[in-house]
């Protein structure tokens, strides 16, 4: 088996993005990024596979230099190599432009057996990057995967769909997005590796290192575009009642009767 690549994303702390009331532009209150919570199960799956098959793990992240601590966190969890994809030209990428950069970086890391990603980010929340990257690499993809192992040189995966679970056999290499509920237990980082990573830095690849087509990058290379952001104003429209529980419940019952939900 060849190496496993895990893609991780830095996301703003929930609640730290606001709309500027004057310019209507999105503004971030802090530039601090956290690891996308849905990427933790992907990392956990990667570490388990590493332990089972003794293979190299590579973590890659496309983003500004402040995702470096998150790559180091991945190292502390068991990743062997950290790669940061960072270039001004990547800014403003939609999922197609993001998947293009990830796919080209993954190609450069060939040969590989598996790419693991989170189901979706908690900021963009499109869940599109994993299948889109696989499509650009022209390899199979599965989403919402909750378990994965190798048998006779083929991947056997369980994926969740609305109707139940499917057991799928796939000729690799393969891209999987991991179900957020795949694991009951997720291991903490190892102390030894936390110390070790202090003296390590990720490899940085810029657009030039990947021979990328500049027309396909960033805002320019992104066919979907946000044309407007609107902050929804909420106005009071009904009756607000304060008082003792007893009174409130009486009122509630009165309304439920009015609406014929309960009989007198």
């Amino acid at each position: 088996m060849e190496k496993i690549i895990v893609c991780i994303k830095g996301v703003p702390e929930p609640g730290s993005v606001k709309v500027d009331p004057e310019t209507h532009a999105l503004k971030r209150e802090s530039m601090e990024l956290i690891l996308n919570p849905n990427d933790r199960p992907a990392l956990e799956m990667a570490v388990r596979l590493k332990n089972d098959y003794n293979i190299e793990l590579v973590a890659i992240s496309m983003g500004p230099p402040n995702v470096i601590p998150l790559l180091k966190h991945a190292y502390a969890l068991g990743v062997d190599q950290m790669i940061l994809l960072s270039d001004r030209a990547f800014a403003g990428s939609d999922t197609l432009a993001t998947s293009y950069v990830l796919a080209e970086a993954i190609k450069k890391l060939s040969p590989f057996s598996l790419v693991l990603m989170g189901l979706k980010s908690i900021d963009g929340e499109t869940a599109q990057v994993p299948p889109e990257t696989a499509s650009l690499l022209d390899i199979p993809s599965l989403t919402n995967v909750k378990s994965l192992f190798m048998k006779d040189n083929k991947w056997i995966a369980i994926r969740e769909i609305e109707y139940g679970e499917e057991e799928v056999e796939v000729e690799g290499p393969l891209v999987c997005s991991v179900s957020p509920t795949a694991f009951e237990y997720i291991r903490p980082p190892s102390l030894k590796r936390l110390l070790e990573v202090k003296n390590k830095e990720p490899i940085v690849w810029q657009a030039g290192d990947l021979n990328l087509d500049s027309q396909k990058l960033g805002l320019k290379g992104s066919p979907t575009q946000v044309v407007e952001v609107i902050e929804k104003k909420i106005e009071t429209k009904g009756i607000i009642l304060e008082g003792e529980t007893e009174e409130l419940v009486e009122k509630l019952i009165e309304v439920l009767k009015e609406k014929a939900l309960i009989k007198n």
Binding site: V17, K18, D94, T95, L96, S99, G124, E125, T126, A127, Q128, V129, P131, E132, T133, S135, L136, I139, P140, T143, I156, E160, I161, E162, Y163, G164, E165, E166, E167, E169, V170, S222, P223, T224, Q225, V226, V227, E228, V229, E231, K232, I234, E235, T236, K237, G238, I239, I240, L241, E242, T245, E246, L248, V249, K251, L252, I253, V255, K259, L261
Partner: protein, 335 residues
């Protein structure tokens, strides 16, 4: 049974909607997305086409439903290899149809299957894809799509500059409507040399034990959030639902806490509800939640905070402890 049409002769420039079929059953979400798409198609003077990939024509159980749909035409691709969901093969088939019929738009319901296929197809065609939109409008001959975003009350309006315009459409965001005329049914014939192979093999299927909730079509919804404090109190909502003939809904954090299964999540990441009455216990009313219930006819909010957004949008708000109110209400209703 249907008119057979070679792929190269397909009419061009239309609006295509992916019809989800799984194990011979039609998924209703495919009929839901036709409602906004019909308006888009009419505004752009295009035909609306519902497209199915299936194993065999005998398998279709819901033909009557399909005949009543809003689609102007229904296209079927029939091949035994399409019996199982094979993402790579499905993508290849859809990409071929797009290349031949050059549609103006291609849309998917935001089901797990739709969200697996749409990005693969977008990647194969190298075009943009808007994610789970819940509003579509044509303005200056362009489709404008909206989706809520981030933790705050922010809505993003998006356009896609590439062709075809592609998006996945939120589940439950639109009602199913029926058409006036039966759509034309066509079976698309692929070239002899098309390869139906796939790197995926479905070995086994275990149906989910949970039956799908009737939440999205419920007339009454009783819903709970973090203000209910714990799982035990939350579970009391089921007693209330039983008495009122309601379905139970929830906010995202409480689903993640495991108080209730995720199928009951209301909002962008879950289902959209449009009941006659919605009662929210201990729910703040973040936009991600309210986009999934704002079209309820009558909203009741129970919250300790009279400035909570849900309190403001409610027709009736009760300012008090949700647990106490719920418990007393149950006691009175039972007696």
């Amino acid at each position: 049974m249907f008119e057979r049409i070679n792929i190269e002769n397909l009419p061009k420039g239309n609006i295509l909607a992916f019809g989800e079929f799984y194990r011979n059953e039609l998924n209703n979400s495919s009929l839901e997305i036709l409602s906004p798409l019909k308006e888009v198609a009419q505004a752009l003077n295009k035909k609306l086409i519902l497209l199915f990939l299936i194993g065999s024509l005998e398998d279709i159980k819901n033909l009557e439903e399909i005949k009543k749909s809003l689609a102007d035409e229904v296209w079927f691709v029939v091949n035994n290899e399409l019996k199982d969901l094979k993402d790579d093969l499905y993508t290849e088939v859809l990409a071929q149809i797009v290349k031949s019929s050059q549609p103006y738009g291609l849309f998917f319901p935001a089901t797990k299957i739709g969200m697996s296929l749409a990005p693969r197809v977008a990647g194969a065609l190298k075009v943009g894809l808007c994610a789970h939109v819940n509003y579509l409008k044509v303005k200056d001959n362009q489709i404008i799509m909206s989706r809520p975003t981030y933790g705050e009350n922010i809505i993003a309006k998006l356009v896609s500059k590439s062709s075809p315009v592609m998006a996945t459409i939120s589940l439950g965001a639109f009602n199913i409507k029926y058409g006036e005329r039966e759509p034309l049914m066509k079976e698309i014939i692929f070239p002899e040399n098309f390869s139906w192979s796939s790197k995926l093999k479905i070995r086994n299927f275990i149906p989910s034990k949970k039956k799908l909730t009737k939440l999205s079509t419920a007339k009454i919804v009783v819903s709970g959030g973090r203000g209910l404090k714990n799982k035990e109190t939350f579970q009391k909502l089921f007693e209330l639902a039983e008495i009122l003939g309601a379905e139970v809904g929830a906010t995202r954090p409480v689903c993640y806490e495991g108080w209730v299964e995720e199928e009951r999540m209301i909002g962008v990441s879950g289902v959209t509800v449009k009941p006659k009455i919605y009662i929210g216990f201990g729910i703040s009313g973040a936009l991600q939640h309210t986009v999934g219930m704002e079209n309820s006819e009558f909203i009741i909010a129970v919250n300790t905070d009279k400035d909570a957004p849900l309190v403001k949008m409610a027709n009736l708000a009760l300012i008090g402890d949700a647990r106490k109110i719920l418990e007393l209400l149950l006691k009175k209703l039972k007696s």
